[in-house]
């Protein structure tokens, strides 16, 4: 007689953060529930209180070293709103260029460094070498392409902002460094190789799709709502724009919502078993109001992409009557299409003569009691909201990070994969890795998730009905 059991996976590896997964089995040994636990808490929403608002652009990027640019820019936008200024056009272009650099580097990291080892070496290959170092040994040319594509994104950040990680470039009212002609030309010189690497990655992934069509299409596939920013004409937007929400079939539910009104649409729940909160669409309630954000959501909800190469890929995304793509596996594909968009948009910005203007800063003193800054971070919509007193001292902070929005969806994805791959009390290496891979599709940024919150390794524990651990397997993100 088999008792109810729980499997714990701890830590989840090759993802940026710290987490555990538990899989609960029923008396028949079938999967009953699966939970994704984020295990760290840092407390940004409290300890920023009392700081001068202009310091926020320096403190909040330390939420996350993978997408610090998104936090910098969301923070700077919230501070612009507190100042009540419109930043000079060149400052906006430079911020967007910096953001394209980050989109490119973060998506390249996710694909080449973290996910390609599964795709190229196999989900069931030896865990000791199923990583970027193993990839360097097994396929050095591919590893080098990935490393150089990420490097190009990082160099774009460095050229605009002076530093690759935790730059001091966007400031309330604009930016503090102009782009020189020499820096612009250097970035333009790197574009052809970057395009080639992005194309290579797309062909590699589409080849994988062809060989594993069934698994790819059904991998943690489920219905959800979607949310993200779009341009006024509905085109894909990463830096600015307004919010759009769609239903599971891609129908628009709310459109062109001013992001500063996010509280009218999004609420959060907290659960005893995770340090990451669970945002939901308020009107639909909890947990029915589950929605997804990030690359897959953005491609599902945008009307088009305003650059030609990426838009051609979007047409393939929508081919054969696919209004939306629901498989979590397609996050990888969406990410690569967005790398193309990032390169094309960067090219447009670099060819605009205004990009080297030195009119980059509007000054002012705090005019408004609060300010909201919203961005599309690589992993999805990022919201910073600050309240200040008359002197500009921060009174309260509210943050909803990209990975947080996907929390309900990630739990759903883990449950779907566990149901398919966990069949008995025995834990097998390939199964564990697939459960992790479901999480990895979302490329969760646990540094972000744990702002209030922490980070993410992985243990799988199989727990019986009486609560005893009957089998366990652990991987430490160490």
């Amino acid at each position: 007689m088999i008792e109810n059991q729980t499997i714990t996976i701890n830590p989840v590896t090759r993802i940026e953060g710290h987490a555990k997964i538990t899989i609960h089995l029923d008396a028949q040994g079938e999967v009953d529930d699966a939970r994704f636990h984020v295990v760290e808490f840092r407390g940004f929403e409290k300890f920023c209180e009392g700081r001068y608002f202009a310091e926020m652009v320096q403190i909040t990027p330390r939420i996350c070293g993978i997408c610090p640019v998104s936090h910098l820019l969301a923070s700077a936008k919230a501070c612009d709103a507190i100042l009540g200024v419109t930043i000079p056009p060149a400052a906006k272009m430079l911020r967007e260029l910096m953001h394209m650099g980050q989109t490119i580097q973060s998506h390249a990291l996710s694909f080449f460094h973290l996910s390609a080892p599964d795709l190229l070496l196999g989900f069931d290959s030896d865990p000791a070498t199923r990583n970027v170092m193993g990839l360097i040994a097994a396929a050095p040319d591919i590893a080098r392409k990935g490393i150089r594509l990420r490097k190009y994104g990082q160099e774009m950040i460095k050229a605009t902002a002076g530093r690759k990680i935790h730059a001091e470039f966007p400031v309330p009212g604009g930016v503090n460094k102009a782009l020189t002609v020499a820096e612009r030309d250097e970035l333009l010189r790197g574009l052809p190789e970057a395009y080639e690497a992005a194309r290579f990655a797309l062909d590699l992934l589409l080849g994988y799709h062809e060989k594993h069509q069934h698994e790819v299409e059904s991998f943690a596939s489920f219905d959800s709502n979607y949310a993200g920013l779009v341009q006024p004409d509905g085109a894909l937007e990463l830096y600015d724009g307004n919010l759009r929400f769609t239903d599971p079939h891609g129908n628009i539910v709310h459109d062109q919502v001013d992001p500063s009104r996010y509280l009218d649409y999004i609420r959060e729940a907290a659960e005893a078993w995770s340090y990451m909160k669970f945002p939901f669409i308020q009107k639909l309630g909890y947990p029915q109001g589950m929605y997804r954000v990030g690359p897959l959501a953005r491609l599902n909800l945008c009307t088009k992409i305003a650059t030609p190469k990426a838009n051609a890929e979007l047409r393939l995304w929508r081919a054969n009557g696919h209004a939306v793509r629901t498989s979590s596996f397609f996050y990888h594909w969406a990410r690569l299409i967005e790398i193309l968009y990032g390169l094309e948009r960067a090219e447009q910005l670099l060819h605009d003569p205004a990009i080297t203007s030195t009119d980059i800063l509007a000054s002012g003193t705090p005019q408004n009691a609060d300010g909201v800054g919203v961005m599309e971070a690589p992993r999805g919509t990022l919201i910073h909201h600050y309240w200040v007193d008359e002197g500009g001292r921060v009174e309260k902070v509210n943050l909803i990070v990209a990975t947080g929005h996907n929390n309900l969806a990630m739990n759903r994805a883990v449950r779907a994969v566990a149901k398919k791959y966990v069949k008995s009390q025995r834990l097998q290496e390939g199964m564990l890795n697939r459960v992790e891979a479901a999480i990895r599709c979302y490329d969760p940024c646990l540094s972000c998730a744990t702002h209030a919150v922490g980070k993410m390794p992985m243990v799988v524990e199989l727990v019986d009905a009486a609560g005893a651990v009957v089998d366990a397997a652990a991987r430490d993100a160490a």
């Binding site: 714990t8 538990t22 993978i66 690759k164 909890y286």
Partner: protein, 183 residues
């Protein structure tokens, strides 16, 4: 030493933003050279079973110590490595995560999980599956002996490269005005 003559390394992420690990990845093509000299046995970027964590020559740690599991992981690594490196300001002195030390932990949790304007269903996480937060976030050296510190938030890739290559050559990295300038 690994059987293949390479220096074995484990990297660990405690309470930090992962920016120090990202800066390590900013070694870019130098990663290809490094892979000829060192074996990364455990890291957030690889898969490894915790109960199989091997003895290593060098342990590299990002972030400070924020909860009981992190303290345990850190001690575990300390017991199994010859040289322990504190990578970045969080590991060395607490840095941003230690800003919470000026507030009561309960107030930080209440703000995060109950009081924020978007929270509709509030509850402070308390399930035993979660690690216990320490009353204060602590730098590594308050918990274990640290052999080498690489300062910066984050130290840039050149600084990390300098420290690693010096150690591989059997020398202690020496910090001066030139190699501690990051901008």
């Amino acid at each position: 030493m690994s059987a293949n003559g390479k220096v074995s390394v484990a990297t660990m992420w405690l309470s930090g933003c992962s920016g120090c690990h990202m800066s390590f990845l900013d070694l870019d093509e130098r990663l290809l050279d490094l892979s000829k000299l060192v074996d990364i046995k455990a890291s957030p970027i690889v898969d490894i079973k915790f109960d199989q964590m091997p003895e290593v020559d060098v342990g590299i740690v990002e972030g400070c110590v924020n909860n009981d599991e992190e303290a345990e992981h850190l001690r575990h690594l300390r017991d199994r490595c010859k040289i322990l490196i504190a990578l970045g300001d969080c590991a060395i002195m607490g840095n941003v995560p230690a800003l919470r030390n000026q507030f009561r932990l309960a107030d930080c949790l209440t703000r995060g999980y109950v009081d924020t304007e978007s929270t509709q269903i509030g509850e402070i996480p308390s399930d035993p599956v979660l690690p216990q937060l320490l009353a204060r976030a602590r730098p590594l050296q308050e918990v274990v002996k640290v052999d080498v510190s690489i300062p910066g938030c984050p130290p840039d890739a050149d600084t990390i490269w300098y420290a690693l290559t010096e150690l591989l050559a059997g020398r202690m990295p020496q910090w001066n005005e030139r190699n501690l300038k990051y901008d």
